[in-house]
């Protein structure tokens, strides 16, 4: 299994280095300039309907495209105290969805408590799951726990064959993912009438854009059923972001400028108008606030320095964030290319 950029002392582990690379891109105009051309500058939030908690960078996998630089060697994790601050704030709002991500969020010792509390508050809870985590001996009963609390599972599976999946996520990950999906199906996830939602996430295995979401969904549905008897609800296509370990791949393979050009050429104003940062509040493992998980990984907190930590927030101050100007950069081309990309898949239907 590979190591994180941090453990390898790779210069890209420093987010200021990543930001320098992105700012120095030759293949595309600055993203903010592009937003200006469609009268979206500054990009502003339109409210907060997703409360996204990144509970840490620890993961049992070291995927080559990971925008978090997560891995088994990462120790950052959200403490119970920070999680309590988040949930007390959530309690005072009407934000309907709690999106729990990582790393492998389930490896945070407070994961199950966070889920229970968020459900107690009547919120819809999503778990961004790498699938293989469900098979770890330390996670016994996790599938049943998720089912009992009606947690929506959003599971990463780049492709319906081992060659592509293992190339991106590590040797043997495809087989484990299939085992985990089988377990989830056996618990009712992705089965008609169960009410237990299993959505898949497809990322391209390389420096190219994802195919149209409905086409990929149909392909996955047919192939996973034919090969393994697996069913699921929806499939989301997500564009690989040119940051962290995917940025490393782009630079090492000589694809960086070409990929940025591809993203910029596919810039879609409708996708830009619908990007998820406009309705998301992203909270880092240490309680810092961001516009999205990608900004979080580039250490680009929300613009107002007085409101950069969950401890600074009251419901009134949270309301003030609804129309905030979103921090943008060239990495944002990743969310605005083609049909657009978000944690919920394509942003537009075109």
């Amino acid at each position: 299994m590979g190591l994180s950029l941090l453990a390898r002392h790779n210069p890209l582990a420093a987010t200021d280095h990543q930001r320098q690379v992105l700012a120095g891109t030759l293949a595309c105009p600055p993203f903010d300039e592009r937003l200006g051309q469609i009268d979206l500058r500054p990009l502003r939030a339109t409210g907060i309907t997703v409360f996204q908690m990144n509970v840490g960078k620890l993961c049992n996998q070291t995927c080559r495209h990971c925008h978090v630089d997560a891995g088994p060697d990462r120790e950052e994790r959200m403490t119970r105290e920070t999680a309590e601050l988040c949930l007390r704030l959530l309690e005072q709002t009407q934000i309907p969805t709690v999106d729990i991500t990582g790393g492998a969020p389930e490896l945070n010792p407070n994961f199950r408590w966070i889920v229970e509390e968020a459900k107690r508050l009547g919120r819809h809870v999503m778990d961004r799951c790498n699938l293989s985590v469900l098979l770890l001996p330390s996670q016994t009963g996790l599938t049943e726990f998720l089912a009992r609390h009606q947690v929506e599972v959003v599971a990463s599976l780049p492709y319906f064959s081992s060659t592509q999946t293992d190339a991106q996520r590590g040797e043997g990950v495809y087989d484990k993912s299939i085992q985990a999906l089988t377990l989830l199906n056996a618990s009712g996830y992705g089965r008609e009438g169960s009410g237990l939602v299993l959505n898949l996430v497809h990322n391209p295995v390389g420096a190219f854009l994802p195919a149209k979401q409905p086409a990929v969904e149909a392909q996955f549905r047919k192939e996973l059923l034919r090969r393994h008897g697996i069913t699921f609800n929806r499939l989301y296509t997500i564009t690989n972001m040119p940051i962290s370990r995917f940025l490393e791949f782009l630079l090492n393979s000589g694809n960086y400028e070409g990929y940025m050009q591809r993203l910029a050429n596919a810039f879609n104003p409708a996708a830009a108008a619908g990007v998820m940062c406009r309705y998301t509040l992203s909270i880092g493992w240490d309680g810092t606030l961001y516009d999205c998980d990608f900004n979080q990984m580039l250490d680009l907190p929300i613009g107002d320095p007085q409101l950069r930590h969950v401890r600074h927030l009251t419901p009134a101050r949270l309301t003030a964030l609804h129309g905030r100007a979103i921090v943008t950069g060239n990495h944002c081309y990743g969310c605005t290319a083609g049909a657009g990309s978000s944690c919920g898949g394509s942003v537009t239907s075109s």
């Binding site: 492709y159 060659t163 390389g206 195919a211 086409a215 990929v216």
Partner: protein, 110 residues
């Protein structure tokens, strides 16, 4: 110029519209219509285009349609089979002309 083919030239394809915009626009409208979802999916059409690109041995087309195939959701196994189809037809086209050779030989021989 050290070679006739330069990868960045692919992005200059639209410069062909500068000589005759009307014909270029007609070509592009037709081209877009051909590759839209129809009785065949965009993915299937990209695989056909990849095969044809190999038959006509156009490096620009191979570059463009390799990327297009990947972006339409095809994998390298499917794309390899498309190239083999192209290869088989090209090879078969040579071989079937052997019938001409046999006809001529038959006519000339005792």
């Amino acid at each position: 110029m050290d070679t006739y083919y330069h990868p960045p030239d692919l992005h200059k394809f639209a410069d062909m519209g500068k000589g005759n915009k009307e014909l270029w626009d007609k070509f592009m409208n037709y081209y877009s219509a051909v590759f839209a979802d129809g009785a065949l999916t965009e993915r299937e059409k990209a695989l056909i285009a990849l095969g044809v690109a190999h038959a006509v041995q156009c490096p620009y087309c191979i570059d463009a349609y390799t990327q297009a195939c990947l972006e339409k959701g095809s994998n390298v196994e499917e794309m390899t089979e498309a190239v083999h189809v192209s290869c088989a037809i090209r090879g078969g086209a040579s071989l079937v002309h052997g019938v001409q050779m046999r006809n001529v030989t038959e006519k000339l021989s005792m």
